[in-house]
Amino acid sequence: MSALHIKKGSTRHSAYNLRPTFSDVQERHTLAVLVENEPGVLARVIGLFSGRGYNIESLTVAEVDHTGHLSRITIVTKGTPQVIEQIKAQLGRIIPVHDVHDLTVEGPAVERELAIFKVAGEGDKRVEALRLADIFRANVVDSTLNSFIFEITGAPDKIDAFADLMRPLGLVEVARTGVAALLRGD
């Protein structure tokens, strides 16, 4: 587990650390779910969210431990504190789920997302797009005489902000990976 840089002590058995109030406030939480990389495990996680009516804002998954066949699913979800606690407990019930971490509670955590943007335009718009990309530390990974593909990493709101700026400058297409996140510190 230490190789995965995950803090000891998961939050899946949520009954003891439920926050005191049944509040109606919607909270955004980032969950890291460690699962056995076996067929159908992603379907189990997604099926839980759709079957019980929970939200998925972002979801990323990849095997992170090839010898132990463990995958890390990072889910960004929204809900009242009660719903968030219920999501974690329900995830904990899935047999191939080894651990559930609520990075928002256990945090602070670093969140990063990668996105690639295709922007087409000529003249001033093209120059402005390139200038803004520089400010946002986006890299040009492909170029034609009238288009660029920018690659950008950052927190999701930074990518949203970049998308808002590119839209009037000829944004054609966006592909985003979804959020990957780790707790800060050791």
Binding site: R12, H13, S14, A15, Y16, L18, F22, E36, P39, G40, A43, R44, G47, G51, Q82, E85, Q86, A89, Q90, G92, R93, I94, I95, P96, H98
Partner: protein, 583 residues
Amino acid sequence: MTREMTGADMVIQTLKDQGVDTVFGYPGGAVLPIYDAIFQQNDIQHILVRHEQGAVHAAEGYARSTGKPGVVLVTSGPGATNAVTGLTDALLDSIPIIVLTGQVPTFMIGSDAFQEADTVGITRPCTKHNWLVKDTDELSGVLHEAFHVATSGRPGPVLVDIPKDVQFATGTYTIPKPSASHYQPPVKGDLESITELVAALEKAERPVFYTGGGVINSGPAASQLLRELVDATGIPITSTLMGLGAYPASGKHWLGMLGMHGLYEANMAMHGCDLMINIGARFDDRITGVLSSFSPNSTKAHIDIDPSSINKVIRVDIPIVGDVGHVLEDMLKIWKSRGRKTNAEALVSWTRQINEWRKVDCLKFADDKKVIKPQYALSRLEALTKKYDRYITTEVGQHQMWAAQFLNFEDPNRWMTSGGLGTMGYGFPASIGVQMAHPDALVVNVAGEASWLMNMQELGTAAQYKLPVKQFILNNERLGMVRQWQELLHGSRYSQSWSEALPDFVKLAEAFGAKGIICSDPADLDDAIMEMIEHDGPVVFDCLVTKHENCFPMIPSGKAHNEMLLGEADTEGAIQAGGAVLV
């Protein structure tokens, strides 16, 4: 121990090593190798059902009456899809069953082959876990893990899908240790929280135990510990439909079942208590009534092995995650070590208040000399069968609620009913499973005529294996509970809720070689019930009862525990628009 054998032989070997003696199933193309292996051995008895749904319910009945997992074997495609209702039923009631399905050979998966269905995909949401095994070398490991998962933690149904080529091929048979599995749900509760609960119990003025199926699932020791705790503290106890029998109905502190059709004293105690101790129940909507007025002034403690049950619908003050038996043991130990204290003075006036509520006599009914009242039929069934080694199953509807109200259970594992899913057609096959496990016991399925018809084909199974199951059908020629709701909610417009073109149940029984009895006169009822009990073979008892009888008490939709309807006089305008959308 490792040995080389075929996949089909591995299935049989695993069942033997797991101590399985009975399998309920139905053959088909994709499970022929396993059926061939069954043919060549005598250790495991296979019960041939008439429909795969019946196999799963029979396995549920077997499991619930023994505490052991039930095993089902069916073929691919329609065999698997027919098992889905039973799997969902077992999931909602936390019943350990293992369903083995055949699958088309691995090289044909995904080709829309004959009798191919995405079984693991279809059953993913209705099993605790499922597996598709593509390599014979992995089969024995998965099968043993399936038993471990089904029976550990909160029990539930699991499914193993086995392609036909995997059954034919040879591989290595191994028995993994259950401790090798990463699935090890904790059973011990947090001692600090248990102490907090004991402290609350010592001070409580109006405490109540609210127990559920978790006590039964935890095993007979848990029921023993519960009895000890209740009798030593003198705290009144009520139970959900699922938990009946964990505390004896003849016990001094028994309040009867709670919930939508629960007893007045039980629901009033829940509403008025200052300490609620939930043991292995889950605040189901049939129990709570409207959440905003649920037991408004109580401290709530909840003991459950499944962390997701805690704070799911009702926020509790003292959560304890753990197995009921383990937690009760610690609780008793701590309570005794602190000097066996209770708030005795307050308990006396609490008991006095409860006795006032008992005087309402909420189960009283107007008797009828001409027509058999369903309540009368069940009270006679209770009186005439209670001295027997008796197991009761039910179908779903009014008869089920009346059975829960009028039959008394002294021990756990004696009462098998579809609680969470409410599956009409559950009771008859379940009674077959119970009878298989307890060949000499008196097994009665309390049924309604509509529910019973849903799986009546199992009469063939009962007849083939000479299982003396008694089908006690309260025949009102109506879908009674649907009709009751239509009367209360939909202006007595009885849309599609009558049973037209019913069969002659006596002739139907005789057509299968079973005994049929019909009874319509209250004066004949006792003799007819005795005739049913004394017949050595399956009996279909057609008990013609009042056609428009409503089941009371009733907490109407959208109302609280203290707003129960006690009889016809209370029903006028009882359910408002907000309640009508609830089920």
